[in-house]
Amino acid sequence: MKKPGTWLLHGVLMLFALIILAPVVYTFLTSLKLFRDIISGSWAFDPTWRNYEQLFMSNRNSFVDLTRNSLVVGGLTLAVVIAVAALGAYSLSRFKWRRAISGLVMAWLLFVNMLPPIIFVGPFYLIARTLDIYDTPLAIVMAHSILNLPLAFWMLHSFFADVPVELEEAAAIDGCSRLQTFLRIVLPIARPGIAATAVLVFVFSWKEFLFALTLSSTPAAMTIPVGIAGFAQEYNIRYGEMAAAAFFATIPALILVFIAQKHIVKGMTLGALKG
Protein backbone atom coordinates (compact mmCIF):
# COMPACT_ATOMS: atom_id res chain seq x y z
CA MET A 1 0.00 0.00 0.00
CA LYS A 2 1.24 3.42 -0.92
CA LYS A 3 1.29 6.03 1.82
CA PRO A 4 -0.75 8.86 0.26
CA GLY A 5 -3.51 6.46 -0.81
CA THR A 6 -3.82 5.08 2.71
CA TRP A 7 -4.04 8.57 4.19
CA LEU A 8 -6.77 9.53 1.73
CA LEU A 9 -8.66 6.31 2.46
CA HIS A 10 -8.63 6.89 6.21
CA GLY A 11 -9.40 10.56 5.68
CA VAL A 12 -12.62 9.73 3.82
CA LEU A 13 -13.62 7.01 6.29
CA MET A 14 -12.96 9.33 9.24
CA LEU A 15 -15.07 12.02 7.59
CA PHE A 16 -18.02 9.62 7.35
CA ALA A 17 -17.47 8.50 10.96
CA LEU A 18 -17.57 12.17 11.95
CA ILE A 19 -20.81 12.73 10.02
CA ILE A 20 -22.37 9.89 11.99
CA LEU A 21 -20.97 10.79 15.38
CA ALA A 22 -21.31 14.57 15.23
CA PRO A 23 -25.12 14.72 15.56
CA VAL A 24 -25.01 12.37 18.56
CA VAL A 25 -22.25 14.39 20.22
CA TYR A 26 -24.05 17.63 19.42
CA THR A 27 -27.20 16.29 21.07
CA PHE A 28 -25.24 15.25 24.14
CA LEU A 29 -23.65 18.69 24.40
CA THR A 30 -27.02 20.39 23.94
CA SER A 31 -28.44 18.22 26.71
CA LEU A 32 -25.81 19.68 29.07
CA LYS A 33 -26.77 23.27 28.27
CA LEU A 34 -29.14 25.61 30.02
CA PHE A 35 -31.68 27.30 27.77
CA ARG A 36 -29.75 30.56 27.80
CA ASP A 37 -26.67 28.76 26.50
CA ILE A 38 -28.68 27.10 23.75
CA ILE A 39 -30.08 30.39 22.46
CA SER A 40 -26.89 32.42 22.93
CA GLY A 41 -25.30 30.74 19.91
CA SER A 42 -21.82 30.82 21.44
CA TRP A 43 -19.76 27.64 21.51
CA ALA A 44 -18.65 27.93 25.15
CA PHE A 45 -20.99 26.99 28.03
CA ASP A 46 -21.13 25.69 31.60
CA PRO A 47 -22.17 22.01 31.52
CA THR A 48 -25.03 21.06 33.82
CA TRP A 49 -27.18 17.97 34.48
CA ARG A 50 -30.26 20.16 34.96
CA ASN A 51 -32.06 18.79 31.88
CA TYR A 52 -31.67 15.21 33.06
CA GLU A 53 -32.90 16.20 36.52
CA GLN A 54 -35.91 17.83 34.87
CA LEU A 55 -36.55 14.66 32.90
CA PHE A 56 -36.52 12.29 35.83
CA MET A 57 -37.19 14.35 38.95
CA SER A 58 -39.74 16.99 38.05
CA ASN A 59 -43.50 16.52 37.95
CA ARG A 60 -43.67 17.95 34.44
CA ASN A 61 -42.14 14.81 32.97
CA SER A 62 -42.79 11.17 33.68
CA PHE A 63 -39.58 9.69 32.41
CA VAL A 64 -39.25 7.40 35.40
CA ASP A 65 -42.58 5.82 34.41
CA LEU A 66 -41.66 5.76 30.74
CA THR A 67 -38.32 4.09 31.42
CA ARG A 68 -40.04 1.51 33.59
CA ASN A 69 -42.57 0.83 30.81
CA SER A 70 -39.86 0.53 28.18
CA LEU A 71 -37.98 -1.96 30.36
CA VAL A 72 -41.10 -3.99 31.13
CA VAL A 73 -42.21 -4.07 27.49
CA GLY A 74 -38.72 -4.94 26.27
CA GLY A 75 -38.24 -7.64 28.91
CA LEU A 76 -41.59 -9.34 28.34
CA THR A 77 -41.22 -9.10 24.58
CA LEU A 78 -37.83 -10.77 24.59
CA ALA A 79 -39.07 -13.53 26.92
CA VAL A 80 -42.07 -14.32 24.71
CA VAL A 81 -40.20 -13.99 21.43
CA ILE A 82 -37.21 -16.08 22.47
CA ALA A 83 -39.40 -18.87 23.86
CA VAL A 84 -41.64 -19.08 20.81
CA ALA A 85 -38.91 -18.55 18.23
CA ALA A 86 -36.46 -20.97 19.89
CA LEU A 87 -38.94 -23.87 19.90
CA GLY A 88 -40.01 -23.18 16.33
CA ALA A 89 -36.50 -22.63 15.01
CA TYR A 90 -35.25 -25.81 16.68
CA SER A 91 -38.10 -27.84 15.28
CA LEU A 92 -37.52 -26.58 11.75
CA SER A 93 -33.73 -26.78 11.86
CA ARG A 94 -33.44 -30.31 13.34
CA PHE A 95 -36.42 -32.33 12.24
CA LYS A 96 -37.62 -33.46 8.85
CA TRP A 97 -40.44 -31.32 7.54
CA ARG A 98 -42.17 -31.36 4.24
CA ARG A 99 -40.82 -28.51 2.16
CA ALA A 100 -44.30 -27.08 1.84
CA ILE A 101 -44.53 -26.56 5.60
CA SER A 102 -41.05 -25.23 6.26
CA GLY A 103 -41.31 -23.02 3.18
CA LEU A 104 -44.66 -21.69 4.34
CA VAL A 105 -43.35 -20.71 7.77
CA MET A 106 -40.26 -19.07 6.28
CA ALA A 107 -42.23 -17.10 3.69
CA TRP A 108 -44.79 -16.07 6.27
CA LEU A 109 -42.06 -14.68 8.53
CA LEU A 110 -40.55 -12.86 5.58
CA PHE A 111 -43.88 -11.15 4.93
CA VAL A 112 -44.25 -10.16 8.59
CA ASN A 113 -40.76 -8.68 8.50
CA MET A 114 -41.15 -6.78 5.27
CA LEU A 115 -44.70 -5.46 5.11
CA PRO A 116 -45.14 -1.95 6.52
CA PRO A 117 -46.27 -2.28 10.15
CA ILE A 118 -48.95 0.38 9.60
CA ILE A 119 -51.02 -2.45 8.06
CA PHE A 120 -51.45 -4.05 11.49
CA VAL A 121 -52.04 -0.87 13.48
CA GLY A 122 -55.82 -0.72 13.02
CA PRO A 123 -56.59 -4.35 13.85
CA PHE A 124 -54.18 -4.32 16.82
CA TYR A 125 -55.89 -1.22 18.15
CA LEU A 126 -59.25 -3.02 17.93
CA ILE A 127 -57.86 -6.17 19.56
CA ALA A 128 -56.40 -4.11 22.41
CA ARG A 129 -59.67 -2.23 22.95
CA THR A 130 -61.76 -5.41 22.75
CA LEU A 131 -59.57 -7.36 25.17
CA ASP A 132 -59.43 -4.29 27.41
CA ILE A 133 -55.64 -4.18 27.36
CA TYR A 134 -55.45 -0.83 25.52
CA ASP A 135 -53.03 1.52 27.30
CA THR A 136 -51.29 -1.30 29.17
CA PRO A 137 -47.77 -2.60 28.50
CA LEU A 138 -49.37 -5.91 27.53
CA ALA A 139 -50.87 -4.45 24.35
CA ILE A 140 -47.48 -3.16 23.27
CA VAL A 141 -45.84 -6.50 24.13
CA MET A 142 -48.36 -8.22 21.84
CA ALA A 143 -47.37 -5.99 18.91
CA HIS A 144 -43.62 -6.12 19.59
CA SER A 145 -43.71 -9.91 19.88
CA ILE A 146 -45.00 -10.43 16.38
CA LEU A 147 -42.74 -7.71 14.93
CA ASN A 148 -39.59 -9.31 16.35
CA LEU A 149 -40.51 -12.93 15.72
CA PRO A 150 -38.92 -13.14 12.22
CA LEU A 151 -35.57 -11.70 13.28
CA ALA A 152 -35.35 -13.93 16.37
CA PHE A 153 -36.41 -16.97 14.37
CA TRP A 154 -33.79 -16.47 11.65
CA MET A 155 -31.00 -15.79 14.12
CA LEU A 156 -31.81 -18.76 16.35
CA HIS A 157 -32.31 -21.02 13.33
CA SER A 158 -28.76 -20.28 12.22
CA PHE A 159 -27.36 -20.78 15.73
CA PHE A 160 -29.11 -24.14 16.20
CA ALA A 161 -27.88 -25.28 12.80
CA ASP A 162 -24.33 -24.78 14.14
CA VAL A 163 -24.86 -27.14 17.11
CA PRO A 164 -23.22 -30.51 16.30
CA VAL A 165 -25.83 -33.22 15.72
CA GLU A 166 -23.58 -35.85 17.35
CA LEU A 167 -24.08 -34.26 20.77
CA GLU A 168 -27.82 -34.60 20.44
CA GLU A 169 -27.52 -38.19 19.29
CA ALA A 170 -25.31 -38.97 22.28
CA ALA A 171 -27.88 -37.40 24.59
CA ALA A 172 -30.64 -39.48 23.01
CA ILE A 173 -28.61 -42.68 23.54
CA ASP A 174 -28.13 -41.69 27.17
CA GLY A 175 -31.90 -41.64 27.52
CA CYS A 176 -32.74 -37.98 27.17
CA SER A 177 -36.12 -37.21 25.73
CA ARG A 178 -36.20 -34.76 22.85
CA LEU A 179 -37.35 -31.94 25.10
CA GLN A 180 -34.58 -32.72 27.60
CA THR A 181 -32.03 -32.78 24.79
CA PHE A 182 -33.26 -29.38 23.67
CA LEU A 183 -33.26 -27.86 27.16
CA ARG A 184 -30.07 -29.43 28.55
CA ILE A 185 -27.83 -29.81 25.52
CA VAL A 186 -28.86 -27.51 22.69
CA LEU A 187 -29.86 -24.40 24.63
CA PRO A 188 -26.68 -24.23 26.75
CA ILE A 189 -24.48 -24.66 23.69
CA ALA A 190 -26.36 -21.98 21.77
CA ARG A 191 -26.40 -19.66 24.79
CA PRO A 192 -24.16 -16.92 23.32
CA GLY A 193 -26.30 -16.78 20.23
CA ILE A 194 -29.50 -16.72 22.26
CA ALA A 195 -28.13 -13.92 24.40
CA ALA A 196 -27.25 -11.88 21.32
CA THR A 197 -30.71 -12.46 19.88
CA ALA A 198 -32.33 -11.45 23.16
CA VAL A 199 -30.33 -8.23 23.34
CA LEU A 200 -31.22 -7.34 19.77
CA VAL A 201 -34.92 -8.02 20.36
CA PHE A 202 -34.79 -5.83 23.45
CA VAL A 203 -33.19 -2.96 21.57
CA PHE A 204 -35.72 -3.23 18.74
CA SER A 205 -38.53 -3.11 21.25
CA TRP A 206 -36.88 -0.14 23.00
CA LYS A 207 -36.71 1.67 19.63
CA GLU A 208 -40.19 0.91 18.38
CA PHE A 209 -42.54 3.87 18.07
CA LEU A 210 -45.59 3.26 15.88
CA PHE A 211 -47.29 0.58 18.00
CA ALA A 212 -46.21 2.11 21.29
CA LEU A 213 -47.85 5.33 20.09
CA THR A 214 -51.10 3.81 18.92
CA LEU A 215 -51.60 1.35 21.78
CA SER A 216 -50.98 3.73 24.67
CA SER A 217 -52.40 7.04 25.77
CA THR A 218 -51.13 7.71 29.29
CA PRO A 219 -47.82 7.36 31.18
CA ALA A 220 -49.23 4.07 32.50
CA ALA A 221 -48.12 2.38 29.28
CA MET A 222 -46.25 4.99 27.22
CA THR A 223 -42.68 4.06 26.33
CA ILE A 224 -39.70 6.38 25.95
CA PRO A 225 -40.08 7.09 22.21
CA VAL A 226 -43.71 8.11 22.74
CA GLY A 227 -42.62 10.44 25.52
CA ILE A 228 -39.94 11.99 23.32
CA ALA A 229 -42.45 12.54 20.52
CA GLY A 230 -44.62 14.33 23.06
CA PHE A 231 -41.95 17.02 23.47
CA ALA A 232 -42.08 17.75 19.77
CA GLN A 233 -45.79 18.46 19.87
CA GLU A 234 -45.61 21.07 22.60
CA TYR A 235 -45.91 24.70 21.68
CA ASN A 236 -42.90 25.84 23.68
CA ILE A 237 -40.06 23.62 22.61
CA ARG A 238 -37.91 22.58 25.56
CA TYR A 239 -34.69 22.08 23.65
CA GLY A 240 -32.52 20.98 26.55
CA GLU A 241 -34.93 18.33 27.80
CA MET A 242 -35.59 17.11 24.27
CA ALA A 243 -31.86 16.65 23.74
CA ALA A 244 -31.46 14.91 27.09
CA ALA A 245 -34.33 12.52 26.31
CA ALA A 246 -32.99 11.75 22.83
CA PHE A 247 -29.52 11.08 24.17
CA PHE A 248 -30.86 8.93 27.00
CA ALA A 249 -32.79 6.81 24.48
CA THR A 250 -29.61 6.39 22.43
CA ILE A 251 -27.50 4.94 25.25
CA PRO A 252 -28.48 1.25 24.72
CA ALA A 253 -27.48 1.56 21.06
CA LEU A 254 -24.07 2.94 21.98
CA ILE A 255 -23.43 0.20 24.54
CA LEU A 256 -24.62 -2.54 22.22
CA VAL A 257 -22.46 -1.52 19.28
CA PHE A 258 -19.33 -2.12 21.27
CA ILE A 259 -20.30 -5.34 23.05
CA ALA A 260 -22.08 -7.28 20.31
CA GLN A 261 -20.90 -5.93 16.99
CA LYS A 262 -20.49 -9.27 15.26
CA HIS A 263 -23.93 -10.51 16.22
CA ILE A 264 -25.63 -7.30 15.16
CA VAL A 265 -24.16 -7.65 11.70
CA LYS A 266 -25.51 -11.17 11.60
CA GLY A 267 -28.95 -10.13 12.78
CA MET A 268 -29.14 -7.25 10.36
CA THR A 269 -27.97 -9.05 7.26
CA LEU A 270 -29.29 -12.56 7.86
CA GLY A 271 -32.91 -11.77 7.13
CA ALA A 272 -31.60 -9.77 4.21
CA LEU A 273 -29.93 -12.40 2.14
CA LYS A 274 -31.27 -15.78 3.21
CA GLY A 275 -34.96 -14.92 3.28
Binding site: H10, F16, V24, S91, P116, P123, L179, A249
Partner: protein, 309 residues
Protein backbone atom coordinates in the same frame (compact mmCIF):
# COMPACT_ATOMS: atom_id res chain seq x y z
CA UNK B 1 -56.23 -51.50 46.85
CA UNK B 2 -58.21 -48.94 44.94
CA UNK B 3 -55.65 -46.27 45.70
CA UNK B 4 -52.74 -48.33 44.41
CA UNK B 5 -54.41 -49.08 41.13
CA UNK B 6 -55.29 -45.40 40.70
CA UNK B 7 -51.65 -44.49 41.20
CA UNK B 8 -50.64 -47.18 38.73
CA UNK B 9 -53.13 -45.84 36.25
CA UNK B 10 -51.87 -42.30 36.41
CA UNK B 11 -48.29 -43.44 36.22
CA UNK B 12 -49.07 -45.47 33.16
CA UNK B 13 -51.01 -42.61 31.61
CA UNK B 14 -48.25 -40.17 32.35
CA UNK B 15 -45.77 -42.51 30.78
CA UNK B 16 -47.90 -42.83 27.70
CA UNK B 17 -48.46 -39.09 27.52
CA UNK B 18 -44.78 -38.34 27.79
CA UNK B 19 -43.92 -40.87 25.06
CA UNK B 20 -46.62 -39.37 22.91
CA UNK B 21 -45.30 -35.86 23.52
CA UNK B 22 -41.75 -36.94 22.89
CA UNK B 23 -42.58 -38.71 19.65
CA UNK B 24 -44.38 -35.61 18.41
CA UNK B 25 -41.92 -33.07 19.78
CA UNK B 26 -41.27 -31.50 16.41
CA UNK B 27 -45.00 -30.76 15.93
CA UNK B 28 -45.83 -29.16 19.22
CA UNK B 29 -42.55 -27.23 19.20
CA UNK B 30 -43.65 -25.57 15.99
CA UNK B 31 -47.18 -24.98 17.25
CA UNK B 32 -46.56 -21.78 19.27
CA UNK B 33 -45.04 -19.89 16.37
CA UNK B 34 -47.87 -21.00 14.06
CA UNK B 35 -50.45 -19.92 16.63
CA UNK B 36 -48.71 -16.55 17.03
CA UNK B 37 -48.62 -16.02 13.29
CA UNK B 38 -52.25 -17.03 12.86
CA UNK B 39 -53.62 -14.95 15.73
CA UNK B 40 -51.48 -11.88 15.19
CA UNK B 41 -51.28 -11.77 11.39
CA UNK B 42 -54.05 -13.84 9.75
CA UNK B 43 -56.76 -12.69 12.13
CA UNK B 44 -55.74 -9.01 11.80
CA UNK B 45 -55.83 -9.27 8.00
CA UNK B 46 -59.33 -10.73 8.31
CA UNK B 47 -60.28 -7.84 10.57
CA UNK B 48 -58.84 -5.42 8.05
CA UNK B 49 -61.09 -6.88 5.34
CA UNK B 50 -64.13 -6.54 7.55
CA UNK B 51 -63.17 -3.03 8.69
CA UNK B 52 -62.70 -1.83 5.13
CA UNK B 53 -66.38 -2.39 4.33
CA UNK B 54 -67.64 -1.00 7.63
CA UNK B 55 -68.00 2.15 9.66
CA UNK B 56 -66.72 1.69 13.18
CA UNK B 57 -67.46 3.68 16.28
CA UNK B 58 -66.99 3.25 19.99
CA UNK B 59 -70.35 3.80 21.65
CA UNK B 60 -69.94 4.01 25.43
CA UNK B 61 -66.69 2.10 25.09
CA UNK B 62 -68.29 -0.65 23.01
CA UNK B 63 -67.29 -1.13 19.42
CA UNK B 64 -70.14 -0.93 16.90
CA UNK B 65 -69.87 -2.05 13.29
CA UNK B 66 -72.06 -0.73 10.48
CA UNK B 67 -71.81 -2.37 7.09
CA UNK B 68 -71.30 0.25 4.37
CA UNK B 69 -70.27 -1.90 1.43
CA UNK B 70 -67.94 -0.19 -0.98
CA UNK B 71 -68.52 3.36 0.30
CA UNK B 72 -64.88 3.71 1.32
CA UNK B 73 -63.78 3.09 -2.26
CA UNK B 74 -65.87 6.09 -3.23
CA UNK B 75 -64.12 8.13 -0.53
CA UNK B 76 -60.77 6.95 -1.84
CA UNK B 77 -61.55 8.15 -5.37
CA UNK B 78 -62.32 11.64 -4.10
CA UNK B 79 -59.48 11.87 -1.59
CA UNK B 80 -56.95 14.44 -2.84
CA UNK B 81 -54.35 13.51 -0.21
CA UNK B 82 -53.82 9.92 -1.37
CA UNK B 83 -52.21 10.81 -4.73
CA UNK B 84 -49.94 13.33 -2.96
CA UNK B 85 -48.95 10.79 -0.32
CA UNK B 86 -48.27 8.13 -2.96
CA UNK B 87 -46.20 10.53 -5.03
CA UNK B 88 -44.17 11.65 -2.01
CA UNK B 89 -43.64 8.07 -0.83
CA UNK B 90 -42.39 6.96 -4.25
CA UNK B 91 -40.13 9.97 -4.65
CA UNK B 92 -38.79 9.48 -1.13
CA UNK B 93 -38.11 5.77 -1.68
CA UNK B 94 -36.41 6.18 -5.06
CA UNK B 95 -34.16 9.03 -3.96
CA UNK B 96 -33.08 7.64 -0.59
CA UNK B 97 -32.47 4.11 -1.90
CA UNK B 98 -30.27 5.39 -4.74
CA UNK B 99 -28.22 7.70 -2.54
CA UNK B 100 -27.87 5.11 0.21
CA UNK B 101 -26.84 2.39 -2.24
CA UNK B 102 -24.07 4.49 -3.78
CA UNK B 103 -22.76 5.63 -0.39
CA UNK B 104 -23.14 2.17 1.13
CA UNK B 105 -21.19 0.51 -1.66
CA UNK B 106 -18.50 3.17 -1.55
CA UNK B 107 -18.09 2.79 2.21
CA UNK B 108 -18.06 -1.01 1.94
CA UNK B 109 -15.25 -0.92 -0.63
CA UNK B 110 -13.27 1.59 1.40
CA UNK B 111 -13.68 -0.26 4.70
CA UNK B 112 -12.69 -3.56 3.06
CA UNK B 113 -9.45 -1.89 1.96
CA UNK B 114 -8.68 -0.32 5.32
CA UNK B 115 -6.45 -2.74 7.19
CA UNK B 116 -6.33 -0.70 10.38
CA UNK B 117 -9.31 0.64 12.32
CA UNK B 118 -11.75 -1.43 10.23
CA UNK B 119 -13.53 -2.53 13.43
CA UNK B 120 -13.85 1.10 14.49
CA UNK B 121 -15.44 2.22 11.22
CA UNK B 122 -17.74 -0.75 11.23
CA UNK B 123 -18.92 -0.04 14.78
CA UNK B 124 -19.46 3.64 14.18
CA UNK B 125 -21.29 3.12 10.90
CA UNK B 126 -23.63 0.70 12.61
CA UNK B 127 -24.75 3.13 15.30
CA UNK B 128 -27.60 4.85 13.40
CA UNK B 129 -29.37 1.52 12.91
CA UNK B 130 -29.69 0.98 16.64
CA UNK B 131 -30.73 4.46 17.77
CA UNK B 132 -34.49 4.83 18.22
CA UNK B 133 -35.76 6.54 15.06
CA UNK B 134 -37.67 8.97 17.26
CA UNK B 135 -34.40 9.99 18.89
CA UNK B 136 -32.88 10.40 15.42
CA UNK B 137 -35.80 12.63 14.49
CA UNK B 138 -35.28 14.67 17.66
CA UNK B 139 -31.55 15.00 17.06
CA UNK B 140 -32.16 16.33 13.55
CA UNK B 141 -34.98 18.55 14.71
CA UNK B 142 -32.53 20.22 17.08
CA UNK B 143 -29.98 20.57 14.29
CA UNK B 144 -32.51 21.87 11.73
CA UNK B 145 -33.94 24.43 14.16
CA UNK B 146 -34.24 27.76 12.37
CA UNK B 147 -33.07 29.92 15.25
CA UNK B 148 -30.82 27.79 17.42
CA UNK B 149 -29.90 24.75 15.31
CA UNK B 150 -26.29 24.01 14.50
CA UNK B 151 -26.84 23.75 10.74
CA UNK B 152 -28.06 27.30 10.35
CA UNK B 153 -25.52 28.44 12.93
CA UNK B 154 -22.71 27.11 10.74
CA UNK B 155 -24.29 28.63 7.63
CA UNK B 156 -24.49 31.93 9.51
CA UNK B 157 -20.80 31.82 10.38
CA UNK B 158 -20.13 31.24 6.70
CA UNK B 159 -22.12 34.38 5.95
CA UNK B 160 -25.24 32.59 4.68
CA UNK B 161 -28.85 32.72 5.83
CA UNK B 162 -30.08 29.22 6.53
CA UNK B 163 -33.48 28.13 5.19
CA UNK B 164 -36.47 27.01 7.25
CA UNK B 165 -35.75 23.35 6.41
CA UNK B 166 -38.65 21.27 7.72
CA UNK B 167 -41.15 24.16 7.68
CA UNK B 168 -40.48 25.05 4.06
CA UNK B 169 -42.79 23.21 1.61
CA UNK B 170 -39.99 22.94 -0.95
CA UNK B 171 -37.46 21.57 1.51
CA UNK B 172 -39.55 19.49 3.92
CA UNK B 173 -39.28 16.26 1.94
CA UNK B 174 -35.60 16.86 1.21
CA UNK B 175 -34.99 17.42 4.92
CA UNK B 176 -36.48 14.06 5.85
CA UNK B 177 -34.59 12.39 2.99
CA UNK B 178 -31.31 13.68 4.42
CA UNK B 179 -32.21 12.20 7.79
CA UNK B 180 -33.11 8.87 6.17
CA UNK B 181 -29.78 8.74 4.34
CA UNK B 182 -28.00 9.38 7.64
CA UNK B 183 -30.06 6.64 9.28
CA UNK B 184 -30.12 3.85 6.67
CA UNK B 185 -26.90 4.08 4.63
CA UNK B 186 -25.42 1.82 7.31
CA UNK B 187 -27.84 -0.95 6.40
CA UNK B 188 -26.75 -1.08 2.77
CA UNK B 189 -23.15 -0.68 3.91
CA UNK B 190 -23.42 -3.85 6.04
CA UNK B 191 -24.98 -5.91 3.26
CA UNK B 192 -22.57 -4.62 0.63
CA UNK B 193 -19.62 -5.21 2.97
CA UNK B 194 -20.61 -8.87 3.32
CA UNK B 195 -20.60 -9.07 -0.47
CA UNK B 196 -17.33 -7.19 -0.92
CA UNK B 197 -15.55 -9.29 1.69
CA UNK B 198 -16.49 -12.51 -0.09
CA UNK B 199 -14.92 -11.35 -3.37
CA UNK B 200 -12.13 -13.62 -4.61
CA UNK B 201 -8.98 -11.54 -4.29
CA UNK B 202 -6.84 -14.07 -6.18
CA UNK B 203 -8.75 -13.11 -9.30
CA UNK B 204 -7.94 -9.43 -8.89
CA UNK B 205 -4.30 -10.26 -8.19
CA UNK B 206 -4.16 -12.19 -11.44
CA UNK B 207 -5.72 -9.26 -13.30
CA UNK B 208 -3.21 -6.87 -11.75
CA UNK B 209 -0.36 -9.08 -12.82
CA UNK B 210 -1.79 -8.88 -16.33
CA UNK B 211 -1.57 -5.11 -16.11
CA UNK B 212 -5.10 -4.08 -15.07
CA UNK B 213 -5.32 -0.96 -12.93
CA UNK B 214 -7.49 -0.49 -9.83
CA UNK B 215 -10.45 1.01 -11.71
CA UNK B 216 -10.40 -1.77 -14.29
CA UNK B 217 -10.29 -4.42 -11.57
CA UNK B 218 -13.41 -2.96 -9.95
CA UNK B 219 -15.21 -2.34 -13.20
CA UNK B 220 -14.57 -5.61 -14.97
CA UNK B 221 -14.10 -8.07 -12.13
CA UNK B 222 -15.70 -6.88 -8.90
CA UNK B 223 -18.85 -5.16 -10.12
CA UNK B 224 -20.05 -8.11 -12.22
CA UNK B 225 -19.49 -10.35 -9.20
CA UNK B 226 -21.23 -7.90 -6.87
CA UNK B 227 -24.19 -7.30 -9.15
CA UNK B 228 -26.47 -9.95 -7.54
CA UNK B 229 -25.73 -8.64 -4.03
CA UNK B 230 -26.41 -5.09 -5.15
CA UNK B 231 -29.69 -5.95 -6.84
CA UNK B 232 -31.04 -7.94 -3.91
CA UNK B 233 -29.92 -5.29 -1.42
CA UNK B 234 -31.57 -2.54 -3.46
CA UNK B 235 -34.83 -4.44 -3.67
CA UNK B 236 -34.78 -5.20 0.05
CA UNK B 237 -34.06 -1.63 1.04
CA UNK B 238 -36.76 -0.39 -1.34
CA UNK B 239 -39.35 -2.52 0.43
CA UNK B 240 -38.15 -1.45 3.87
CA UNK B 241 -38.10 2.23 2.87
CA UNK B 242 -41.88 2.13 2.36
CA UNK B 243 -42.20 1.66 6.13
CA UNK B 244 -41.00 5.21 6.79
CA UNK B 245 -43.03 6.81 9.57
CA UNK B 246 -41.22 7.83 12.75
CA UNK B 247 -38.92 10.60 11.56
CA UNK B 248 -41.52 12.20 9.32
CA UNK B 249 -44.04 12.08 12.16
CA UNK B 250 -41.56 13.95 14.33
CA UNK B 251 -39.88 16.32 11.89
CA UNK B 252 -42.66 17.57 9.64
CA UNK B 253 -45.85 15.73 10.56
CA UNK B 254 -46.33 15.37 6.80
CA UNK B 255 -46.46 19.12 6.29
CA UNK B 256 -46.37 21.90 5.48
CA UNK B 257 -49.67 21.09 3.79
CA UNK B 258 -49.10 17.69 2.23
CA UNK B 259 -45.57 18.45 1.03
CA UNK B 260 -44.00 15.59 2.98
CA UNK B 261 -47.06 13.37 3.54
CA UNK B 262 -46.30 9.69 3.09
CA UNK B 263 -48.66 6.74 3.03
CA UNK B 264 -47.96 5.31 6.51
CA UNK B 265 -48.35 8.69 8.14
CA UNK B 266 -51.56 9.41 6.26
CA UNK B 267 -53.10 6.10 7.31
CA UNK B 268 -52.17 6.90 10.92
CA UNK B 269 -53.92 10.27 10.62
CA UNK B 270 -57.03 8.75 9.04
CA UNK B 271 -57.21 6.26 11.91
CA UNK B 272 -56.40 8.37 14.90
CA UNK B 273 -56.82 12.05 13.99
CA UNK B 274 -59.86 11.76 11.73
CA UNK B 275 -61.01 8.59 13.58
CA UNK B 276 -62.16 6.95 10.35
CA UNK B 277 -61.21 3.37 11.20
CA UNK B 278 -63.03 1.87 8.21
CA UNK B 279 -61.47 4.10 5.57
CA UNK B 280 -58.05 3.77 7.18
CA UNK B 281 -58.42 -0.01 7.00
CA UNK B 282 -59.13 0.19 3.26
CA UNK B 283 -55.95 2.23 2.73
CA UNK B 284 -53.97 -0.23 4.88
CA UNK B 285 -55.39 -3.15 2.91
CA UNK B 286 -54.41 -1.63 -0.42
CA UNK B 287 -50.93 -0.93 0.95
CA UNK B 288 -50.71 -4.57 2.04
CA UNK B 289 -51.68 -5.81 -1.42
CA UNK B 290 -49.21 -3.57 -3.25
CA UNK B 291 -46.35 -4.35 -0.87
CA UNK B 292 -47.09 -8.07 -0.99
CA UNK B 293 -46.45 -7.99 -4.74
CA UNK B 294 -43.08 -6.38 -3.99
CA UNK B 295 -42.26 -9.01 -1.36
CA UNK B 296 -43.15 -11.89 -3.68
CA UNK B 297 -40.97 -10.35 -6.38
CA UNK B 298 -38.13 -9.92 -3.87
CA UNK B 299 -38.44 -13.55 -2.80
CA UNK B 300 -38.36 -14.71 -6.42
CA UNK B 301 -35.39 -12.46 -7.18
CA UNK B 302 -33.50 -13.68 -4.11
CA UNK B 303 -34.06 -17.33 -5.04
CA UNK B 304 -33.10 -16.65 -8.63
CA UNK B 305 -29.89 -14.91 -7.62
CA UNK B 306 -29.01 -17.67 -5.14
CA UNK B 307 -29.47 -20.29 -7.85
CA UNK B 308 -27.21 -18.34 -10.20
CA UNK B 309 -24.38 -18.31 -7.69
Amino acid sequence: MMATSAVDMTRQQRWRLSTFLDANFQYWALAPILIFLAVLTLYPVGQLLRMSVSDLAFVKGKLEWTYVGLDHFQTLRNDPVVPDALKNTLLFVVVVVCVEAVLGLLLAILVSRARRFAWFYRSVYMIPLLIPPIAIGTIWRLMYDYNYGIINQILFELGLTGPLWTANPDLALVSVMIVDVWHWTSFLFLIMLAGVESLPYELSEAARVDGANEVQVYRHIFFPLLRPTIIVALMLRTILAFKVFDQIFLLTGGGPGTSSEVISLYIYKVYFVQTRLGYGALLALLTAVIMSVFVVFYQWLNNYVNRQR
